[in-house]
Amino acid sequence: MREVYLDHGASTPLRSEVVEAMIPFLKEQFGNPLSLHRFGDAPRQAVEEAREKVAALIGARSNEIYFTASGSEANNMAVKGIAFMNRKRGNHIVISAIEHHSVMNAAQTMEKLGFEVTRVPVDSHGLVDPDDVAGALRDDTILVSIMHASSEIGTIQPVAEIAPLVRDKSKAHFHTDAVASAGTVPVNVKELGVDLLSLAGNQFYGPKGAAALYIKRATRIMPLIDGGIQEAGRRAGTENVPAIVGLGVAAELAVEDLEERRQHLIPLRDRLIERLTKEIDRVHLTGHASQRLPGHVSVVVEFIEGEAMLLLLNMQGVAASSGSTCTSRALKASHVLTAIGIEPGLANGSLLLTLGRENTMEDVDYLMEVFPPIVDRLRQMSPLYKEA
C-alpha cells in the first residue's frame, strides 16, 4: 500500500544529514559540555556551533539563543520568565485568542497567580488586527505574545506590523511563537521586531527534544529551571547534546533550501485546497487562503467527524490530523476553530493535512483518490447528512 505522510505539523522526518551529525554524540562523544577534561571539548564546541547555526536561521546573535527541550518549553520560558521578572513593573499580559496551548495555558497559569490577561480576538481567517493589539495595551502591560503562524489553521500573523505598535505604545516585551513557521518560512527577529521568539527543530526535519528561545540582548527573564550555569544560567540542566547538534544541522539546511521548499510546497498546498473544496461538496477551508504556511491545508468537512476520517485515511496509508473534540485527548472543542467562528458541531469535522519536502503532486492525487469515498461512506452513516 502507498504510504503518504501528511502530518508534518506534528513532526517532520529527520534529514539524513541531521541523523549522521547526531550519531557521534550518542556514541563516543558522550561527554558533558561543562567538563574541563577532553571529553567535554567536542560536545561543548558542537553545542556552540549549533547555537550559531540556529542564530543564523533567524538573524540573531548566537548569545541570544537559549536551547530548550521543546517549543512548549520555550513558550513557557518566555511567558512565565518575562512575567515573573517584570511583576513589579506591571501585571498585564496580552495574547491572541488562537495561541498554542503552551502560550495560552502558561498565560492562564500567570492569571491564577494574579496577572491579568487580555485575549485579542481574530477574524474569520484567523488574523489578528494590529490595532486590536494596540488597543489592548496598558501602562502595566509587560508582555505581548502573538504567534507567528498557527499550526492548526496555517494563518501567518502580521507580526512585523504588530511589534512596532507594541514598542511605541508600551513598555511591554514582545514574544512570538514561531514554532510552526521557523525553518519553513523566512523568520528574522530584526525584521519582525520581536524581543523573544520560540522555535522547534522537529518542525523542520530536525530531532525532537531540541528547541530554542531567542531572547534579545539585554532582555531579562526569570529562569524556569534553576541549577547550574548551562545556557548562561537561564536554563539549567545538562544539555541534550545529540538533539541540539541535530537542531543546528537542521537549521543550517533550512537556511540553504527554505526558498526551494516553499516553491515546492505552495503549488501542492494550493492544488490540494482547490481539489478538496471543489470536488467534495460542503468542505470549507479554515484559516487564510494566502497568508498561510506553505504546506498547510486545514478544512472542515460537514456532517462527519475527524477521528473517523483519520482512522479510514490511516487504512489507506495516509497519515493526517484533526482538531476535532474526539481527537483531542482533553475532549474539548478547539479554541482556535471556535475563535474563527466555526460552530462546534462543524469543528468536529476538522481535517489537517500538512505537506513536507518529500511529498509530491502524486501524493495529492492519491489523497484525492481515497478521500472522497471516505467522506461519502461516513456521510451515508451520518444522521446529520441529507443528500442534496
Binding site: F303, E305, A308, L311, N314, R329, N348, M381, S382, P383
Partner: protein
C-alpha cells in the same frame, strides 16, 4: 491511532445494520454534534421482539463501533431483554473501549432504549 480493540476496528470498518427503517415502530436519538457524537436508532417490533434494528451515527470510530454492536446485540431480543443491555455490556462486548471514550462515545444502549420507549409510548397511545 487510539488503542482500539480488534473488535472495535472490525465494527468500525464493517458496521452492521447502518441505515434507517422507513416505517419504523420506534426511533431514538442521543448526543449531539457539538459534543462530537450523535446516534440515531430505528427499530421494528414483531411479537414483542426486535425484528430489525438500524442506526445512523455521527462520531468517532468508537461511536460507530458501539452503534454497530448494539444493533447486533439487540436484534432478535425481546423488548425486556433489550432494555437490560447496558452501556457497560456494550463496552465489554467490544473487548473494551479506551477510557476517554467510555462516556462520550458509549451511548448506543441509551439510544436503543430511547427507541424502545418511543415504541412503547406509541403503542400505549394507539
Amino acid at each position: 491511532m487510539p488503542a482500539y480493540s480488534e473488535k472495535v476496528m472490525d465494527h468500525f470498518m464493517n458496521p452492521r445494520n447502518v441505515g434507517e427503517i422507513p416505517d419504523a415502530d420506534g426511533e431514538g436519538s442521543v448526543g449531539n454534534p457539538v459534543c462530537g457524537d450523535m446516534m440515531s436508532f430505528h427499530i421494528k417490533v414483531d411479537d414483542g421482539r426486535l425484528s430489525d434494528v438500524k442506526f445512523k451515527t455521527f462520531g468517532c470510530g468508537a461511536a460507530i463501533a458501539v452503534s454497530s454492536i448494539v444493533s447486533e446485540m439487540a436484534k432478535g431480543k425481546t423488548l425486556e431483554e433489550a432494555k437490560r443491555i447496558t452501556n457497560a455490556d456494550v463496552a465489554a462486548e467490544l473487548d473494551g473501549l479506551p477510557k476517554n471514550k467510555m462516556h462520550c462515545s458509549n451511548l448506543g444502549a441509551d439510544a436503543l432504549h430511547k427507541a424502545i420507549e418511543d415504541y412503547e409510548r406509541k403503542t400505549q397511545e394507539a
